[in-house]
Symmetry: C2
Subunit: 411 residues, 2 copies
């Protein structure tokens, strides 16, 4: 065991390296299966939507001018010439002094420019209509290009597809969508103290927690986890598993190595790999300071701390953005995926280091409070109790009770 000195590097410098990693390829998938996927191309509307003037109410299609001045005491009298069938164009145009029955969603007949609501009219007989309220041109009508105009760029490549984007693309007639593939993220656990979860640990051993938690969070970040199990703290074993994993995945996480000896081993293995470059060895964050980021060929290899809370926080706050980037996600860091809350006690920190403090969110009378959860980063319980993370900026020495803080949610 030798004492080690870290070169501390601000978090921003780490994110500045994201662009060096190349997004994965693309694939076509049926529109119904695109929820949560990342668009690979811009979506430009080829047609107007709805494509024809539509009524937004049940009522009568009219020429607005024919209703001007109409009121309860002095109704306008119109002739009902037709009823518009859903899904069809009207049989006849609407002339001056004429009206056609129309339902919500029906197509406005030629000549008509507004719809009188059902409750503002009364049918005297099959062809005679009294109108009690005047309508302006365009009233209760959606224009042919009001939702989407042909030629308009509606969605940008790199955006995440939500249910409404699926709907928009369905409306535009897109049966399949080109999206980015999900990157495959390899997970290796190292540590001679680890045993598989099906085994009963003897004193000194613990079960491999990190493979499971990281697999879950890789899926949430939009990747596909590929696990390589537990590798002993020996150069040959770790090097050969890394080599295989790098050939089968788009990014590799090695978790473990909380002790200086194991960290040294991970470094040695990384340095021995062909075309390898260590970008960061140590990041000034807590927890997670010993994190390593290397570039092996075109791929990112992360050395994550073995302590579970450290590994999860580093993944959530740092690695996930890299996963987002190689997933093609132009906005992998959603600024508003966090809430504001009032801090319930003082939190101390150190200038020059960014702290991520696990916190519970408590709601009381419409206000949110953030309660920090103390405890070493080896405790999984502290994460189970946490709703999110409070970030303490590297330029402050701490936060005071009562301050409003941002809490990034751990979903």
């Amino acid at each position: 065991m030798t004492k080690e000195f870290f070169t501390a590097t601000p978090v921003k410098q780490v994110f500045d390296r994201i662009v060096e990693f190349v997004p994965v390829g693309t694939e076509k998938v049926p529109t119904a299966e695109t929820c949560g996927r990342i668009l690979a191309t811009d979506v430009v509307a080829q047609t107007h939507l709805p494509g024809f003037a539509r009524s937004t109410m049940d009522g009568y299609a009219v020429r607005a001018a024919a209703t001007f001045g109409a009121s309860e005491s002095s109704p306008a009298y119109l002739e009902i010439t037709d009823t518009v069938q859903m899904g069809m164009a009207a049989q006849a145009p609407v002339g001056n002094g004429q009206a056609a029955g129309i339902a919500t969603g029906g197509m406005l007949p030629e000549g008509a420019d507004a719809v009188v609501m059902l409750e503002h009219a009364a049918k005297l007989d099959e062809t005679a209509l009294e109108v009690y309220k005047s309508v302006a041109p365009g009233a209760n009508v959606v224009a042919a290009d009001e939702d989407v105009a042909a030629g308009q760029k509606m969605l940008a490549a790199g955006s995440r597809i939500r249910p409404q984007e699926m709907g928009l693309m369905a409306a535009l007639g897109m049966e399949t969508i080109r999206v980015f593939k999900k990157p495959v993220i390899g997970i290796i656990s190292t540590g001679d103290e680890l045993v598989e979860i099906g085994q009963t640990p003897v004193p000194g051993q613990i079960r491999d927690v990190n493979t499971y938690s990281l697999a879950g969070t890789v899926g949430q970040a939009g990747g596909i986890a590929r696990t390589y199990g537990i590798v002993a703290d020996r150069f040959d074993a770790l090097r050969s598993t890394c080599t295989r994993a790098l050939s089968e995945t788009d990014m590799l996480l090695i978790s473990g190595g909380s002790s200086v000896g194991t960290r040294d081993l991970t470094l040695e293995v990384i340095e021995s790999l062909p075309d390898s470059q260590i970008l960061f060895h140590g990041i000034p964050i807590r927890p997670g300071k010993p994190t390593i980021l290397a570039k092996i060929g075109q791929k990112a290899l992360w050395g994550l701390p073995g302590q579970i809370a450290s590994a999860m926080v580093v993944f959530d706050r740092i690695v996930a953005r890299f996963v987002g980037h190689i997933s093609g996600n132009a906005l992998s860091y959603r600024q508003h995926d966090r809430i504001t809350a009032e801090l319930t006690r003082n939190l101390s920190s150190v200038q020059g280091r960014t702290d991520y403090v696990r916190a519970r969110i408590v709601e009381d009378q419409g206000r949110f409070y953030a309660e920090p959860i103390p405890g070493p980063s080896g405790l999984i319980r502290t994460l189970v109790e946490a709703d999110g993370l409070i970030e303490i900026d590297m330029n402050t020495e701490g936060l005071e009770k009562g301050e409003t803080v941002f809490v990034t949610l751990l979903r």
Copy 2:
């Protein structure tokens, strides 16, 4: 077309009926595949975690008392008797005046009660150690039951499994987990104006958007969407598809029927089904007022508005909680899944009605602003532009520019 009167019912009364619907059954799945699933049983720890006293630092395991009074100028001198191997119990106990080398995560030897950090000690030779700083009993050590104590209830049935919960269950040796099945949610689109997305609509027709958007949002809510395509506005067709769908799913959504005529048809079909009961016909919300909730046997059948924004808002704010409930999710309404923002303009409303206003979130200098998006509820674009929904309570007449409002995010 006949004029119709709705019986308005406060939203809370709708939620009060949730308990009438029975959660789906349970299944066992491998721990690695449980992310996002709902736990079907409590998780009670069968063992302590970590299970033995562990070091949280690289250093030397000692009896704390032997370091009392130690300082730079007057170090304590200890005998190094052993080095603890990772994953194994120490070979020998640590006596008074003795020390054993230990790495982060190593098991504390018998007799030791604290760890001196590497940087606070110096090795004089293979067996002689100088300690420059005293440690308190328990320093740099995690106790055997500090993370989890045997017998403790760690997770409650009905909670959603996140990556950290996966890790906890892995640590407890659970290889498979009993979770609730995902409920199958049927989706029927009605409307004579609808065509499949692969078809080119003629004037008066539009493509079936709702099936796609609803399928996406059903998946987000934890369900499995089963789509039944477009059904014409005819009693026999709608009734027979409903009957089949009810036998194949756990909940059924009929979307469409924006016009009074179609709504009447949906009602007629519901009333004709065996063991059917209409719980709500009309809910005082905007958009979404014409929503129908019926109970057919043990299952919920929803009549959703055809306008896409109405259907999506009703699903997100009302139906999703019912999906959560039958998914076994005890907390399907996460209060803090929303952010606070400053409203950018006045919004009017009507007392007695709850409004959900589509809004964009803009961040400026660390503050969030909510910009309402105007537009009829038939426009899919308004949803594509929206980051979330502002709720205007039924007891207010509107909100003022500059007010702080809650925005529920549309993910």
